[in-house]
Assembly symmetry: C2
Homo-oligomer: 583 residues x 2
């Protein structure tokens, strides 16, 4: 392919809104152009990369026994209502009302559609297992799209769905997908950390997330320092505090004491006013879980982990209660709620072990502009009872441990996730089968997603994917495998030799770009570095006189001079070496 | 690939709403399943076919020098407002309002997006020509989706856009696309008729449509009987009537005579009431063209061709006027308008030559429940004047001629269309370049569409694409090229031989399906015929005893018995023959 016949408008300047390196480089290297907030056109280079990623994903999915199909983008909202996920998705779901007044979701994912398909086609255990996948555009109406391809409003997702007859068979389907994912990311040149994840709105019993470590990632990987356990921040469990000696055993604790804290409705404000520290505070948060009210109690320096809290109250959808509800439950303005006397008035009170273990603390007084000192867990509010539970509901923080091992924290980009879904969707949508004994059972499902565009962005974003000069792409997903650069376009012998090498490489099966532009060597080198093709063959007048051309890897400053007759063979050898390294 | 590992739920019964054979067969042969009105899931067989079609389209577009990109589905409505096409598309455009209140179109096509892209990247004639294409999902909010993949609410379209510096260069870009289209449809096994077409809402100066003749097609191909000219019905020109002898020359025609025609507001009702024929009537129709009113006058038995009428009044968007406007202009209820005295009161009066040539006729009286007899064109309403024009504005009908040659009519399915767009989009969206003399000019555009799903449906719908037993697919787009059918699954030697042939065909590069189901031969043959793979290799116990297997083409009742050792070679030979026939 000739450079002059491709639209590769590289640029020096990028919009200020491009905050992270992959976003900046994908614009600078002419991989993408923004159309509107969160939507991007993939230019020839970017689209070539995406097509290569798609092909790798397709090959590995097929090899793992999954069957490719294509489901519609427009999905009837009725299907989502049957699983209740129309509510779960909330405003991030793109909703389109058609001319007949029917509501449609623009596919954010396809559990409902595929399950209703299987409900219509599968009736016997003999037809199981089955794994259906598609590679198609998905939509999310992000409140604040950013980071280019990493949080956009539309993107290409590979989504697969397995249907099995038994939990053991699901384990096997899940294992096959897990292994396919490992191969996919390896072939794409990504070093993923696999972390335990919450399944969240998806429902189900287990999930793992494939995350590429890099500083600007929005996900947080939490690992024990011996690397024996990894989870994302939504999931990461925290050991309870060490059992403290009953220091004040026998010694009576002082009684509660109400203090006026005018306008001090935040932890920081109260601390400033009373001179206490956040870890001396007892934080009380009021949530809505459907029609129920749930109270969460934590130590003042800790943050609620919504996923853990949702699990602790049964797995439904929870949100912070609205101001009016908070006032009704606490009897005070927002910021002055306390756990005292609330256990009987709400559906569930959940106390984090680190709050339960406090000797005493300062809590809201359930009275506007007042707090209470000397609140003793277990004395002034219950730690057990019918609707009271002590459970890990907070986010892990530096200093925490799990199973006695110190937790470490690292940012990363999620590129894939696998879920054991169980029967949530098959029950709601009637995907049932008759087992060997003739008994009707719901299919046991798994689902498996990969963000195609995210693979490209994460590749560039991570340390190995770029340097100060531009992108560094693995041979497997680079828009081209090798670039041939003639230095002197005014010298016919240079042009001819570069053309010959290009043609012979192409005939040998290499995916090769010839920079045939009438431009200075400096311009060509700058663009080559920016675009990030892994291998470069440079044909110059001086070298040719000695019978040589130069071969250079994008990752290596060294230049190898090789006889021009060996240029094609040597290039093919290095390409094979690069490919073998990703096998 | 093994049949047992694919979801191929063939069925006997199809929903009553599947009116045409391709729709019925695509459901029966398990190519598609309906999700909701106008949306279909492509099952493994259907999706394999679509992927093969996509690959052919991609290869030919690349070979023609077009560059593949991917543009977003969500398109800001502002872009459409700049060309006015948000209005032109009307309710068939899917519109989605995002959480920030911004309106988006779900891509029905991408002229606006690609032109704004080029506006940002192209500045010099040196960067032209350029041709950008994508293969992606498009949306139309059809009022009444039907015919399966032929009129659905979402579909895969290949859309290409060329940008040139001169009209001659556009001609060349257009020619390359035209030739690529011919190759694409030939490779897909389709016999297209290329017809002149109106460019309609697209704007521009010329268009051709690739149409597959078949009875159930919604398009009408109009050809002269010598096949020297072909157009679609929207475009097909009609010769004016032969100059009649001035039979009544000198003899005065009777004056106009008002007659009461109570409640007779249609041609048929008036004819029944007065005992006249439709061809004796003068039909007067009132249209809105933006803020203007346009009157169209035709002979009573003719129908307005909206495209021709729009061209005759300058190419804008026209619609039949609303009832209130008709009453205001005619002074009567709908059905009683006449051309008399209207020329001065409207922006334009357009008279079809066949109406202009009438000696006299019956017209509406511009008075509710009255008509006028003996209306003489040229005497009682003008045939010339500042805002009066005689122009071909009707649909061609049986008996018409063009350039003296009789017109024939044939139904067909449109699978592709090419347009010379001119500068409508580049001017509206600022896609300009500096020419050699440094002068700024708008790019001259063309656009080129292919309906991917329609290729599959049209293939099956046309006579060669099916018989009473099922689909008949060309080798190039069939889900598999060859199917191996072991007749006796309980005989190990049959299973082993079929497996060997399958494996060796696969190793030889054939796309092969092995029907490994434990089913009766009749079931396997029925499904094989229904699915329509072009070639079948049957392995049976009896034949094997004689050392033979059977090879059968889907299109041929004859069965060839060949020694099993030659089965693979003979199959590969026939496959090559089938492929060569589509080259």
């Amino acid at each position: 392919m000739r450079y002059s016949r491709l639209l590769i408008p590289t640029v020096k300047e990028v919009p200020a809104e491009a905050e992270i390196i992959s976003h900046r480089l994908m614009i600078r290297a002419a991989y993408v152009r923004k159309l509107a907030s969160g939507t991007y056109t993939y230019l020839p280079l970017g689209w070539r990369s995406l097509m290569k990623i798609i092909q790798i994903v397709r090959q590995e999915m097929d090899a793992a026994g999954a069957q490719e199909i294509l489901m519609p983008t427009l999905q009837p909202m009725e299907l989502w209502q049957r699983t209740g996920r129309d509510v779960d998705y909330g405003p991030t779901m793109c909703r389109f009302e058609d001319r007949h007044g029917r509501m449609n979701a623009l596919a954010p994912t396809a559990e409902e559609v595929v399950t209703s398909l299987v409900a219509g086609e599968i009736s016997s255990y003999k037809q199981l297992p089955i794994n259906l996948y598609q590679i198609s555009t998905k939509f999310r109406d992000e409140f604040r799209p950013r980071f280019g391809a990493l949080r956009s409003r539309e993107f290409i997702m590979k989504d697969a769905y397995s249907f099995d007859a038994t939990p053991e068979a699901l384990d096997e389907s899940y294992r096959r997908m897990y292994e396919a994912y490992c191969r996919i990311f390896t072939r794409c040149g990504l070093n993923c950390v696999v972390v335990e994840a919450e399944s969240g709105e998806m429902g189900g019993s287990g999930s793992q997330q494939f995350t590429v470590p890099c500083e600007s990632g929005e996900d947080v990987i939490v690992q024990t320092d011996d690397r024996s356990y990894a989870a994302n921040l939504e999931r990461a469990p925290v050991d309870p505090p060490p059992k403290s000696e009953p220091a004040q055993a026998g010694k009576p604790l002082p009684p509660m004491e109400e203090v006026r804290t005018p306008d001090a409705g935040t932890i920081d404000a109260v601390c400033a006013f009373l001179g206490t520290r956040p870890e001396d505070m007892i934080k009380t948060l009021i949530y809505s879980a459907g029609d129920d009210v749930v109270v969460a109690v934590l130590r003042g320096d800790h943050e609620v982990n919504d996923e853990k809290l949702a699990q602790a109250v049964g797995g439904g959808h929870i949100v912070l209660a609205e101001e009016a509800a908070v006032q009704r439950i606490s009897g005070a303005a927002v910021g002055f709620a306390g756990p005292m006397g609330k256990a009987d008035k709400v559906a569930r009170m959940v106390i984090d072990p680190w709050a339960a273990a406090m000797t005493s603390g300062v809590a809201g007084a359930n009275k506007t502009d007042y707090h209470v000192k000397n609140v003793v867990p277990g004395r002034d509010f219950p730690l057990e009872g019918e609707n009271v539970v002590v459970a890990d509901i907070r986010k892990a923080v530096e200093g925490d441990a799990y199973q006695g091992r110190k937790l470490t924290f690292q940012h990363g980009i999620e590129v894939g996730q696998v879920f054991k879904l169980g029967t949530k969707y098959s029950e709601a949508l009637g995907a049932k089968f008759l087992d060997e004994s003739g008994k009707e059972k719901p299919c046991i499902m798994g689902c498996y997603g990969i963000g195609i565009n995210r693979i490209l962005a994460a590749t560039i974003e991570c340390d190995e994917g770029h340097d100060k000069d531009g992108c560094i792409l693995p041979v497997s997903i680079s828009p081209f495998e090798v670039e041939v650069v003639p230095l002197n376009n005014d010298k016919p012998e240079v042009v001819a030799e570069a053309g010959r090498i290009h043609d012979e490489l192409q005939a040998a099966g290499a995916d090769v770009l010839l920079d045939d532009r009438d431009a200075r060597p400096g311009v060509k080198f700058k663009d080559a570095d920016l675009i990030g093709i892994p291998l470069r063959v440079v044909v110059g007048e001086r070298g040719l006189k000695a019978g040589n051309v130069e071969i250079k890897r994008r990752t290596d400053a060294r230049i190898a001079s090789v006889p021009k007759e060996q240029a094609v063979a040597e290039t093919m050898r290095i390409l094979q070496e690069l490919k073998d390294a990703l096998a």
